[in-house]
Symmetry: C2
Subunit: 340 residues, 2 copies
Amino acid sequence: MNLKRPAPTLYDVAVAADVSTATVSRCMNFPDQVAKKTYYKVMAAIKELGYSPNFGAKAMAARRTNTIGAIIPTMENAMFARGLEAFQKELRLHGFTMLVASTSYRPDVEEEQIRSLVARGADALLLIGHEREADIYRFLETQGVPSLITWVFDEKITQPSVGFDNRVAMMEMAMKVIEFGHTRLGFISAITFQNDRAAARLDGIKDAMKSAALNTSDLSVIETNYGIDEGAKAFDSLMGNGPRPTAVLCGNDVLAVGALRRARELKIAVPQDVSIIGFDDIELAQVAYPSLTTVRVPHRDMGRRAGHILADHVKNGTPLKSLQLKTEIILRETLAPVKT
Amino acid sequence: MNLKRPAPTLYDVAVAADVSTATVSRCMNFPDQVAKKTYYKVMAAIKELGYSPNFGAKAMAARRTNTIGAIIPTMENAMFARGLEAFQKELRLHGFTMLVASTSYRPDVEEEQIRSLVARGADALLLIGHEREADIYRFLETQGVPSLITWVFDEKITQPSVGFDNRVAMMEMAMKVIEFGHTRLGFISAITFQNDRAAARLDGIKDAMKSAALNTSDLSVIETNYGIDEGAKAFDSLMGNGPRPTAVLCGNDVLAVGALRRARELKIAVPQDVSIIGFDDIELAQVAYPSLTTVRVPHRDMGRRAGHILADHVKNGTPLKSLQLKTEIILRETLAPVKT
DNA sequence: TTGTCTAATGCAAGCCATTGCATATTGCAG
DNA sequence: CTGCAATATGCAATGGCTTGCATTAGACAA
């Protein structure tokens, strides 16, 4: 049944069009080096046979693939999805294809995926966050595959990166919260282990408290996985033990929305009894009820610029450069002055 | 500066380990065909040199890539993201890698992406919906690339598919709405042009109305793009002209949430003044306020099963089979009996 | 020790496109 | 018509890996 005749090759096309394989190849890659008449003849043959060039052979012969790989923790997160979509669109404009792989936040899987994409001949790689084994950077070096870090900007790191300063972004938000009179804070964080973004955000809150002369022991932190239910559970614990925080900051909007839902279930009024603050400003934030005060991250812009820089580097050899983007505090309904 | 020494090859490893390239190749692909001692020696050399096999060469020589491609309309849609994540996880279990490409709902881009993934040597393809040019199916045939359709199940189509019956799913929902006494319905649809899912859902509503002896002229339909704001705008128009519908069904949850938001802005009470119904049951649905009545689609299950079927087919030649999954009506707060 | 058989390894022919260089064709001035 | 330049085409080497088949080494029995 599955009697698959082998796919036609360049050679088959050449025979059908009665030219050499070189000519067919040029028709596809440099049409203006070929006489018009020949060109049409060849194109007809290609169409006729349903020919499609073999990527492997092409990559091998041409020593480049016009492919750029992106490795993200998860696709289920709207913020990565959005950034990637923009990244891909930008790459398309430059004639590149994007390959995505996701790691479920697991460093071992990430390493595997990096190797796999490199093996596939990715001309360059987009990575999220900078924290990974030195081995991996060394490997990329040996293989001659340039990489760009995103979602992060930190003067201290040496790799080129396009992103924002997670610590400062969260610090500004926390300072705003403190301005509103809150002194006992809660923080529902993503797992900080091997996640520099999450760790930096936590640092940001602490820094804000210090600069306001608050005691960081008045900050209760819960680390949890990504998900609405996880946010809800974390909120539960925060409200359970000891003196309640009057404002709960969250590492991302999804956690915040979970907290919001749980607050409603517990009949804790937001923002009257407690303020809830998110991070990312995904769509969820504005349709949540009450609508979520959060930190807007320019995901699309980040994806677009990363795509531009990377494509430019691979095509024209422009050196990779770092770029710091700005975040913005979006005040909506879930943040209010503390009750006195 | 960018003095990249060419990446090490099989040959380099062979020399370093003092064996033939064939042996190195076997170490990587069939370790048990190699003497232990040799194996360790080779592995040491590989590590030492930072060797990584060249995918193109490998693909060409082995005539398979262990890669399965997935082509989706957009990554920004949580429902695709979720299905894909499950699909990928399943593929990983079988030793396959997933390649994703998105099309922005544009058939021309889709065709391009299909060709591109095939050219990259995808061993099989996952496609969304069945409606596309015959040319494309013919191309896949010539290339000998099997494909599986998802998000859709329709006895009338010949391609193997794993999905649900969009028409029936929406029809059941509409019948439930009608049971609640609604007779003037609105439908905020995704663009139906070249989108069989959207078209089928519209049909489903009409069928439900007919079977309840309602006049389909009492159905106002607005087609719009994917997005919260688009849903909001569409809701506006539905409420603007002529007799208002008492229930507004939506082609997906995102549109529904947009409608919900606009209703709040317009001070139209949901569900007292108007019921709003979504489709997909993404997380958004349960955190929306009021929470959204919607149709639950088993995205994860669909992704998982599609992955299984496709992997099994490529690895073991098991014929592709179709599978119909069931959807479920999730009653939440946005649907209520019509006011009398 | 020798002979047999199996396990381990090596040889070398592909796989399919690209591309530098050589050759053939064409157009046009003289 | 010739001759030359410019353009179009073809030849054949190349890239890195897999794998069928041939060969060698090693284990074991006699």
